[in-house]
């Protein structure tokens, strides 16, 4: 079948098109398959009985009344299930001597945080399980909670895990002097202290505890009725979950299948291997029935891992002319009661980013991870890098104040000029590409930086009750996790490659599988655009399959802005192989030499002739296999595994104009401009969506969110009413723009975008808040910079000390939220 290639008009490329996401219709309407929507015949439901206390001995569990409750199949403790010795995995032992407690599926003798499971009820319906859970009577003997990180490290502190002998999990150090990537920080500080023409600026910042607050609560269904045990889970990491389940529960990996159907958000909050998931596995195997767990929102707030929670002691040294000479970073990071899958490594992901976009000759980073009796912490959008960016961008502003410099000028003086890329930093990373000047120039212009500075001056002069602040944040991040060898050098428990397969169907349609399983990002659309261009097929003909270990058996999943820069490149590599195979068949069918063939817009043509074969025709030829070269298999399909050679380094300049009502302390974000360099843009709409969502989350840390614990170790704002997640109504229209310096480390030139907005925006806001108030004497305000904190800071700076009345966290009144869900009996609600 030789056809003549029709002189087609070149189709417009898909890459760069602002396509509406193909997955939107089903995701936005919710008419799709979320895990909780899956209920195999005969499914049993579990409800976990959780400790209301942060730290307590479990003296006894009386299950009798619950066991007799309608619909109940059984009530089990860890001992009843024989899982006392099972410990959930931590895949990142950051130091060889790291202290790691066993993290049980259910606490047996001691509970270590409020929300930890003690027993599990299995019933015919979720409602019956929930009802019976109230009837399980646990006898606790209260122990002293461990809540403050510094106190936890002090001599004689109550130990969270007495068998470890300490509350210190590990201390991890990166020292440019030792590593040979830069100078010694001790020398830099000593030199600065001795030099009248230098300054040393020290600050302490606090990264409050945050709750990822994904929209779909966590859920899993474990079905033992097939040859493979099937686990449906609302997870970001189906492949990791599969391997870890087999390791944790002692199963044969080939006997386990994991399916992550559509997953409604994660932000890092769904990368865990959960006690509830493993309980469902144990129960499904024991009862030989499908078992389902879906958490309530309250459980999610309380027991799903939290994020951030660090104390940062930062010292920067500089010459009076503004040249930065050294940076010393000392962190305390709250792990909570146990180690999550990558929990101990989260602060370490930030270690390499404290020097950010600047040329800093000496860097030392040291982080001590601490156990407390709180919910464990683990990855949350940005994971380590928002903390790093916050610290460096805040201290650059502090340095500017100290030196009397414009904060933007000071940054320009110290950043890496674009001519110097690729640039190896003091942390030992090589930034492949970037252009900080370009992004900044555009942002400054969009923002009207000079105009706003003039307005700020005017408001100060007029003593306007509404003061204006300008907040700057320039950032870069290492993302696209990651080169496997580098992860190995950091003792990470896995590699960072990603897998893809391309299947050419008989009819010329294309199925692509990716191991990067999305949870709302839009992989299906973006990857289809890439494949459509590469193969020269219509966008509609490409299907992206993912999230089922039977369909995409190999993968390392979605986190760390890696899907496009690692997973997307794996797809490209697989497509390359398909094209190479197709070229052979095309040459054979066209009776031409492979070297004489050109491939463009989906068609191989013999150079200088009008003879050609479309990729669809070749796919059909391979399918019927009547006529193909002898030295190959009749198939175009191909697999690829891509291991990146470097991280990806997006960067950007973010500017915030913040108005502060000095009478009430209200912070109003008036304008937000960001110009991000994320390399080649596959789909501008998706990029903008990622930036918007990221900004909202980063701004939320600066202004709104904090997980508060009382002195007993109880989470006191564990509902969405008083956790105060912002909505669109709390945020301005963002002015976003993209500049593109293509990455040189991958064939598409792409960089990660999923975390950029979150990483950059937090310091922009706080710098803006302080910029508005500095002339009033305000030096710092802890996050979130609530109206009350701002008001008190102003009062104190003006010498009017305010007497903060004791807060009664259990008082009813302020809406539903201040009704304490942990002590319902205390409240009388009419």
């Amino acid at each position: 079948m030789t056809t003549t290639a029709e002189p087609t008009t070149t189709p417009s490329p898909e890459v760069g098109k602002a396509r509406v996401r193909k997955e939107d219709a089903r995701l936005i309407t919710g008419r799709t398959r979320y895990t909780d929507a899956i209920t195999p015949q005969g499914t049993l439901h579990i409800h976990v009985v959780r400790s209301p206390l942060a730290h307590a001995k479990v003296l006894g569990v009386d299950k009798s009344e619950a066991a007799a409750s309608p619909g109940v199949i059984g009530v089990y403790t860890a001992a009843d299930l024989g899982v006392e010795s099972v410990g959930l995995p931590c895949a990142w032992p950051i130091t060889p001597d790291m202290k790691a407690p066993q993290r049980p599926l259910l606490a047996s003798s001691t509970v270590h945080f409020a929300g930890e499971g003690v027993a599990v009820v299995v019933a015919r319906s979720a409602a019956e399980a929930r009802d019976a859970a109230d009837l399980v009577d646990v006898d606790y003997e209260e122990l002293e909670p461990v809540l403050d990180m510094e106190a936890a490290l002090a001599e004689g502190a109550t130990l969270v895990h007495p068998d470890l002998g300490t509350n210190e999990n590990a201390t991890w150090v990166l020292d440019s002097g030792e590593a040979g990537t830069g100078g010694r920080i001790g020398d830099a500080i000593a030199a600065a202290e001795a030099d009248p023409d230098s300054v040393v600026v020290k600050r302490r910042f606090r990264q409050q505890r945050l709750i990822p607050a994904f929209m779909e609560p966590r859920s899993c269904v474990v079905d033992p009725s097939g040859e493979q045990l099937t686990i449906y889970a609302a997870t970001q990491v189906p492949h990791i979950l599969r391997t870890m389940t087999t390791v944790t529960m002692g199963l044969n990996e080939s006997k386990v299948r994991v399916i992550a159907p559509d997953v409604g958000g994660g932000f890092g909050g769904k990368i865990g291997v959960l006690p509830e998931e493993m309980l469902c596995v144990a129960l499904a195997n024991k009862l030989r029935r499908p078992v389902k767990w879906t958490e309530t929102r309250s459980e999610s707030m309380l027991a799903a891992h939290h994020g951030r929670d660090q104390i940062q002691d930062i010292t920067i040294t500089a010459k009076r002319d503004g040249t930065v000479t050294g940076l010393d970073v000392h962190l305390l990071a709250d792990m909570g009661a146990y180690l999550g899958l990558v929990g101990p490594g989260v602060p370490i992901l930030g270690a390499f980013m404290y020097n950010a976009i600047y040329k800093i000759p000496a860097l030392k980073f040291s982080c001590t991870n601490v156990f407390t009796t709180k919910t464990l912490t683990d990855a949350y959008r940005g994971a380590g890098r928002p903390e790093a960016t916050f610290a460096i961008e805040r201290i650059m502003d502090e340095l500017a104040v100290e030196l009397g410099r414009d904060p933007m000028d000071l940054r320009k003086q110290n950043w890496i000029p674009h001519e110097e890329f690729p640039f190896t930093t003091v942390a030992g990373l090589t930034y492949d590409s970037g252009n900080y000047e370009q992004a900044t120039a555009q942002a400054v212009e969009m923002f009207d930086y000079d105009g706003l500075r003039r307005e700020q001056e005017e408001r100060r002069r007029n003593n306007d009750p509404v003061q204006l602040g300008i907040g700057i944040s320039t950032f870069t991040e290492m993302c696209g996790i990651a080169p496997s060898r580098l992860l190995g050098s950091l003792s990470y428990g896995a590699g960072g490659w990603e897998a893809a397969s391309v299947r050419m169907l008989a009819t010329g349609k294309v199925e692509v599988t990716t191991g990067a399983s999305p949870h709302g990002q839009g992989h299906e659309t973006a990857f289809s655009q890439i494949v459509a261009d590469q193969l020269g097929v219509p966008f509609e003909d490409v299907e992206i399959l993912h999230g089922d270990t039977q369909v995409s058996p190999k993968g390392l999943d979605t986190y760390g802005s890696r899907s496009l820069v690692v997973g997307g490149i794996a797809v490209v590599k697989a497509v390359d192989k398909v094209i190479a195979k197709a070229r052979k068949i095309a040459a054979h069918l066209l009776e031409a030499s492979e070297d004489d063939l050109e491939f463009a817009d989906g068609t191989f043509t013999v150079r200088g002739t009008d003879k050609g074969k479309a990729i669809q025709e070749i796919a059909f030829a391979a399918f019927v296999a009547h006529d193909y070269p002898e030295d190959m298999e009749p198939s175009l399909d191909a697999d690829a595994v891509y291991d990146p050679e470097n991280f990806s380094y997006p960067h950007g300049t973010h500017l915030a104009a913040v108005e502060i009502d000095t009478e009430t302390g209200r912070v109003h974000l008036r304008k937000y401009v960001c110009v991000d360099d994320v390399g080649t843009v596959i789909n501008p709409l998706i990029v903008e969506g990622q930036v918007h969502g990221g900004l909202a989350q980063g701004i939320a840390q600066a202004l709104f969110e904090e997980a508060n614990y009382d002195e007993q170790g109880t989470l006191v704002n564990g509902t969405l009413v008083d956790y105060t997640l912002p909505s669109a109504a709390d945020l301005p229209n963002f002015d976003t723009a993209v500049v593109s310096t293509p990455a040189t480390s991958n064939p598409l030139g792409v960089k990660g975008v999923g975390e950029a907005g979150t990483i950059a925006s937090t310091p922009a806001i706080v710098n803006g808040v302080l910029d508005a108030l500095r002339h009033l004497g305000v030096r710092d305000i802890e996050m979130p910079t609530t109206s009350q904190r701002v008001w008190r800071a102003i009062q104190e700076a003006q010498g009017r000390s305010t007497q903060q009345t004791p807060v009664d966290t259990h008082s009813p009144g302020a809406g539903l939220g201040s009704i304490d869900p942990n002590n319902p009996q205390e409240e009388e609600v009419q």
Binding site: A126, A127, R130, D131, D134, T296, R297, S298, E663, T664, R666, F704, N708, V716, N717, T719, V721, D722, T724, L725, P726, S727, A729, D730, T786, S787, Q788, W791, R792, T802, Q803, Q804, T805, P806, V807, D808, T809, S811, P812, G813, A814, G815, L816, G817, S818, I819, P821, P824, E827, E828, V829, Q830
Partner: protein, 283 residues
């Protein structure tokens, strides 16, 4: 978030509802829009054995002109209040406060009667009802009675509605031609008030002839700022005079302390917001 088990009835008349309430006794609970009750049930802060839905009683829904009063059925939704011309013309303050409640979804379901019966001191409808001298019509076994707003709010989540009684109607005097404003201060745009001030004033020839001021979340019930009202009457509507009057906003309050605002900050807010609300209302 699964509530404990309960039975459910949907009576078609007030008399049937009252009967169901009596038969259900202590364990019966009324549901109106469910925007406060359902979260309470789902968090298991309450576990009634019988839930009586007022949604089937047509006579409880609607807004009518009743001579010198605007009468609003207890089951009238926020959304209906917001669209109503009688409200705009005669009790604009009620609409202004209603506009600040939560989001569109909640406003479609939540009812004025439910909000007042719930009597959350952080709720936004109590202060306007109190400031505007609304009257609550309450139906029980022995007929109906009318309770003035000043006697309606008793304590945290506690009103003058007795056991076996149902709030059926809320009656507002007409404030035609008055200026009004609801100044709300909250953590996020769709949250309850940390503090809010409801103001209606009648300005006559540049001076304030009459004033009504109510405070949200400054005590266990909505609070009438009578000190401010007195200080305002007879004053020119200038920023200075208004600010001086607003300084009396905390008289008679018992501001709560919570994580969002300790009492001293709330008191400060009450003064500042009162000044702003009066200025806006008089403007």
């Amino acid at each position: 978030m699964i509530p404990a088990k309960f039975d459910y009835v949907k009576p078609a008349s007030v008399a049937d509802a009252v009967r169901a309430l009596r038969e259900g006794g202590d364990d019966a609970k009324i549901i109106a829009g469910g925007q406060s009750l359902l979260p309470v049930l789902r968090l298991r802060l309450a576990a009634p054995s019988l839930v009586i839905d007022l949604g089937g009683i047509a006579e409880l829904r609607g807004i009518r002109d009743d001579g010198d009063r605007i009468a609003i059925g207890a089951m009238t939704s926020y959304y209906d209040i917001l669209r109503d011309d009688l409200v705009k013309q005669h009790v604009a303050l009620l609409g202004q406060a209603t506009e600040t409640v939560a989001d569109n979804q909640v406003r479609h379901r939540g009812t004025l009667g439910g909000a007042l019966a719930h009597a959350d001191p952080a709720g936004d409808l109590g202060a306007p009802a109190l400031a505007l001298d609304a009257e609550m019509v309450i139906a029980g076994e022995s007929g109906t009675r009318t309770v003035p707003a000043a006697e309606f709010f008793v304590d945290y989540f506690t009103t003058a509605i007795g056991e076996g009684e149902i709030l059926t109607e809320i009656r507002f005097p007409k404030y035609t031609g008055w200026g009004s404003h609801y100044e709300k201060f909250n953590r996020t745009a769709q949250a309850w008030s940390m503090c809010a001030v409801a103001v209606a004033v009648r300005v006559d020839g540049g001076s304030i002839a009459e004033a009504r001021v109510g405070l949200t979340n400054m005590g266990t019930t909505p609070i009438r700022a009578t000190g401010v009202e007195q200080a305002l009457v007879g004053q020119q509507a200038t920023a200075e005079a208004i600010r001086a009057a607003a300084d009396r906003a905390t008289e008679g309050t018992a501001a709560p302390s919570d994580a969002d605002a300790a009492a001293d900050y709330r008191e400060h807010l009450a003064r500042v917001l009162t000044g702003r609300a009066v200025l806006a209302a008089a403007g």
